[in-house]
Subunit: 350 residues, 2 copies
């Protein structure tokens, strides 16, 4: 939709309520109007429509995954998405990393008084679209409004639940020496897209965020009957932090090959200008799958057959030791140790 | 614990990190330290300890309830609780209102840069205590830090899941004409406690929040085999908003008897001074149970046997019509219509 269409189609009349008021979070008539006309209409599903204190749904015997993430990204809109689509992708991807098929999400909004109603509508609409694309339902929610100057436009928390078929075990404790590390695509675009939008930097070409659901390639790995030892999305702290955490938790070593980790030229150039390392930059539609060597080629083919992971590579290998150490074999053949940063190079990236 | 004990026992050395830094939310070493030493240690359980992208747990075949709430209460500490205990009570109570036995919570923290580390610790400790008391586990979480002036100390989102035994159906669609409305105790204390703390008003006696888990009396109603048609907690918008919502969704009328709705004298006096109506003031440990007349006396006895609902009363009745109308029979015998307020009398109460 174009901006003008958003104004026209905003379900709360913008002429009457151009901005979010404290009363929109007060539990009274205005909040009810916002819930009914905007949230319930956009997220439209029976469970949410029941308007109980929570959603109720049947579950089969098995295992359930449950996760949560708050989103405070700044700015709210960036090339390739906005905080609404990001809030859906982040949580469905976390569920996918548990080996779960994501089913239901909750949405908790903390709105700042004075937020443009049209902005809220664009974000809510993007959430609805992202949920429909990912095949999940937003079934329960909450809206709070904080006074002007005590928030930053919108913060969104999403929690999610999904079902893990019995016997499916993925996690650092499953990782074994000799396993191959598959990286699902080029790194660093989400972080650099945010930075570009924040600083209004004129990168040579606009870098779009990689924010996307990775449900499909992950489910396809399982459906192909491939053994998957560990899945991890490469969000805050990027590839390096994920590898350090897994090596630590598995008490094994990991060696990455720099030349095999895909980074787009424009991302690499932007990182170089800004003194950033793409191995630490956050992604929102990238993950690594750690698989036994025997399954690696087939798993790579599966990943490459989906647009969101078409650029997947075998980028490294798990080694028996030294425990917890992650190293990088550089393009010129040198070897250096990778460690976590103390913080993040780019705050409020998600 | 006394303030001094909190300083001494804060698991992050206050001399080194007196305040929350941006890096505490950055996905790197400082965040890992905060997670391990404070969150994982205080919420201590196996599922959280696994440190996956989400928690995994077995579920039996049946129905699950799923709910979420964000907490933005101001001030963070008030007589009878703080934002941490409130964030647990709010969500376990929402699950209870679905007829569920609450099991697992998520916790999403949005911290403002510069928040005193000791304050965070007091809040996290209160969350841990409240969860242990309620018999639930905090199994997954997320921490974000926003820049100074873009938040307000701490916001907390909790989502929760619980199991609903099959055949247990509670909700406005179950409500019938002739049903009795039980109110679980005196109204208005949470709202007035917050207002007192916020304005540093010298109420004659300090009013303590009613914030508490209501799991026990609710479970006891079901365990006694009593038919329960609807449960609703009396949070934002208070008793009146809850009644208006239920009457609307059930297409029935509700009549309350003013004399039967308990309000403590100090709360009533404080409300009068400030021009507030205790029927609209938020509570955090109060609910209504709507039950068939035949079950009302026994249900009332069950509620009275628990400290948190010792002051329960039969406060009204459901009538066949006019649909959606809530009326109040006043102490002097007059009858007036109650409607939702457009907003809330007191913002940021929860």
């Amino acid at each position: 939709m174009e901006t003008q269409d958003f104004q026209l189609q905003c379900p709360i009349p913008i002429s009457e309520y151009p901005q979010v008021l404290m009363a929109h979070g007060g539990g009274g008539r205005l909040m009810n109007q916002l819930l009914e006309k905007m949230f319930l209409a956009e997220f439209d599903n029976e469970l949410l429509g029941a308007r109980h204190d929570g959603a109720r749904f049947p579950v089969a015997e098995g295992e359930m995954a449950f996760t949560t993430d708050s989103f405070v990204v700044k700015p709210l809109f960036f090339p390739g998405g906005n905080i609404g689509s990001l809030a859906v992708h982040g949580t469905v991807n976390d569920l996918s990393m548990c080996g779960a098929r994501p089913l239901y999400l909750s949405a908790g909004f903390i709105l700042e008084e004075g937020l443009a109603m049209e902005t809220l509508w664009q974000i809510v609409h993007a959430m609805g679209e992202a949920a429909r694309e990912a095949g999940v339902q937003i079934v329960t929610g909450d809206t709070k409004v904080v006074d002007r100057g005590k928030g930053d436009g919108v913060f969104i928390n999403t929690a999610g639940v999904g079902l893990v078929p019995s016997g499916r075990n993925v996690g650092p404790d499953q990782v074994q020496a000799g396993d191959v590390i598959l990286v699902s695509g080029d790194l660093g675009r989400h972080g650099m897209a945010i930075l570009g939008a924040r600083q209004a930097l004129a990168f040579e070409s606009a870098i779009e965020s990689d924010s996307a659901s990775v449900i499909e390639p992950v489910q396809a790995l399982f459906e192909a009957g491939l053994e998957v030892h560990c899945l991890r999305d490469l969000t805050r702290g990027g590839l390096t932090s994920a590898m350090v955490e897994i090596a630590r938790d598995a008490s094994l070593a990991i060696e990455l090959e720099e030349a095999k980790v895909p980074v787009r030229d424009d991302v690499r150039a932007a990182c170089e200008i800004l003194g950033l390392d793409p191995f630490y930059v956050a992604n929102e539609g990238r993950f690594c799958a750690i698989v036994p060597e025997a399954a690696a080629d087939q798993a790579l083919e599966v990943l490459k057959s989906f647009e969101v992971s078409a650029g997947a590579t075998a980028a490294g290998r798990v080694q028996s030791g030294p425990a917890g150490v992650v190293s990088l074999r550089t393009a010129i053949g040198a070897r250096r140790i990778l460690d976590m940063l103390s913080g993040e190079q780019l705050p409020r990236i998600c």
